[in-house]
Symmetry: C2
Subunit: 96 residues, 2 copies
Amino acid sequence: MAKRQFYIVSYDISDEKRLREIHKFMKDFGEWKQKSVFECWLTPEAYENMKAGLKKLFKPREDRVRIYRLCKTCRERAFSYGWGELPEEFEEDVIL
Amino acid sequence: MAKRQFYIVSYDISDEKRLREIHKFMKDFGEWKQKSVFECWLTPEAYENMKAGLKKLFKPREDRVRIYRLCKTCRERAFSYGWGELPEEFEEDVIL
């Protein structure tokens, strides 16, 4: 299976119904971490499917999404304060 | 002057008053990008001051913050869709 990479997906959705739809959609791709922030371990194919799906659900003039990819070094430097843990390393087939 | 690094700061604050305080506090450190997401170019000293300040404003049992640092490669792979632009490179003294 193709290697996975770690992504943070954060979005700003101006419409409640669309927000729920996107939240539901994103659950298939990663872990919900904060209001509009998901952490995802994705193969290149899953990454493309996620982006394509988000584009369909989105209204670019009203909403926005930011997707950041984090390499291992950047993951290791992540800091979390308060409840909830840091991004866990994905056991198998991960791109360093 | 010490080199700057790029950070994404995202937080979940359960109390409206505290949320406004933290939003105001964070404006001194970076650019507000989405509801609870700031992008910051910080020297090591500014990074420590920001973390210390957030810890003072925070209730760890109710709130949480995640701070991700992005290297140049990860920044270049960031994706933005909808309104708003991608993280701009900081002209001077940046850690690659």
